[in-house]
């Protein structure tokens, strides 16, 4: 039983090690409001889209441009009869797109975020439209959450039979008390 739990602790730990790095760095960035800089650029293309609604057309243009990210419905605005304006967003980019129905002419204002903003963005990200890694990240986050909870409990289980069990128990209790007291302070 003990060997089995140690193996599970080890392999689940290896599985969620990159997740811990991402979450550790992004948690520090959240805590100290670190976002990094951003840069902008403009580019243009010609895209034909024939979807039914404006949102469907916007998503068609996004896919035709090969962009990854969400198209918030509230961002889709028809500025005049021929011009459709919308955003495509992901943790690394914010595209403001103006697409001309009649000619297919597409103007894109692209804002690039820093790598730290990307780590903040994927902290808890549920999906990423247009990327095969979006669903993979969803499953990975789900598994890692449970793996982390398991690692905490199995770590206690693995430590307690040792000679220093009393010190280990005191450490667990002290950590829990500190967490409880500080949580009450901000509750």
């Amino acid at each position: 039983m003990r060997k089995w739990i140690l193996d599970l602790h080890l392999y689940l730990g290896l599985l969620c090690a990159p997740y811990l790095v991402v979450y550790g760095v992004s948690a520090i960035a959240f805590n100290h409001d670190i976002k990094g800089g951003s840069s902008t650029s403009q580019w243009s293309a010609v895209v034909v889209a024939e979807g039914g609604t404006d949102l469907e057309r916007a998503e068609e243009v996004r896919d035709a441009l090969g962009l990854v990210g969400w198209t918030p419905e509230r961002s889709v605005i028809r500025t005049d009869d021929a011009l459709l304006r919308f955003r495509v967003q992901n943790p690394g980019r914010d595209y403001l797109i103006e697409w001309d129905d009649a000619t297919g002419s597409t103007e894109v204002d692209e804002t690039r975020s820093s790598w730290i903003a990307i780590l903040r963005g994927i902290h808890g990200m549920r999906d990423l439209e247009g990327s095969v890694l979006g669903p993979v990240w969803y499953v990975y986050t789900e598994v890692s959450s449970w793996a982390l909870a398991f690692a905490a409990l199995s770590g206690i289980y693995l430590w307690l039979p040792r000679r220093s069990a009393a010190l280990g128990t005191a450490t667990v209790v002290a950590g829990a008390v500190v967490l409880a007291v500080l949580s009450i302070g901000v509750w």
């Binding site: 090690a17 997740y19 790598w115 549920r126 905490a152 770590g155 901000v186």
Partner: protein, 195 residues
């Protein structure tokens, strides 16, 4: 080296077991948002001369509402203030309570809407408490958050080292670590490099 790192990994893990467990479970709750139940909403109106004064900008509006914090029974820390509907809306938040104060200068009154979250909602709120502003309690909690975040990095790196030293058959570990690293690095690179 191995013994020292094992002790650090072990005792740090024991000390932060409760915090790590809490962040894992509350993070999962947030990830599956919407299962927290409806908050209890209470609205009240407070009369005070402070709300008669004109506020020329956000900083002045913040001073007005913070000066009346006791009368308004504010329990959270200041989050934001913005002009709206000819007056001002200010927001305060703690882990379990969210409060919105609305007032129009000259009227001498303010309305306050207090939302008290369910226990699950408050746990999700606690997961999102970060930043050093808001007084000694928030500062102390921010230090805990930093400590847990740095420990996460330490657990990841020391865990890989300990696996390397413990296991003679390393192929299953390489496959596990390789797959998770490929997914993470692949996603970050896609977001950095994609057009």
């Amino acid at each position: 080296m191995y013994k020292t790192l094992r002790k650090i990994h072990g005792y740090l893990g024991l000390a932060l077991a409760a915090a790590v467990f809490f962040y894992a479970i509350s993070g999962w709750l947030i990830y599956h948002g919407g299962r927290f139940g409806e908050p209890v909403v209470v609205e009240a109106r407070v009369t005070s001369d402070a709300f008669s004064a004109e506020a020329k900008d956000r900083a002045a509006a913040r001073r007005i509402v913070e000066a009346s914090a006791d009368e308004l029974a504010i329990v959270g820390r200041f989050k934001s203030v913005r002009p709206a509907a000819g007056g001002w809306h200010a927001n305060f938040k703690s882990a379990s309570v969210q409060q919105e104060v609305r007032w129009i200068p000259g009227q001498g009154t303010a309305s306050i809407k207090t939302r008290t979250f369910t226990t699950a909602g408050a746990l999700a709120g606690l997961h999102r408490v970060y930043g050093t502003s808001g007084g000694p309690a928030h500062f102390a909690f921010a230090i805990l958050v930093d400590f847990v975040a740095l420990a996460m990095l330490g657990f990841a790196l020391s865990g890989v080292y300990l696996w390397w030293k413990i296991k003679r058959k390393r192929m299953p570990g390489w496959v596990t670590l390789g797959a998770s690293t490929a997914a993470t690095v692949g996603l970050v690179l896609q977001l950095i490099l994609a057009r």
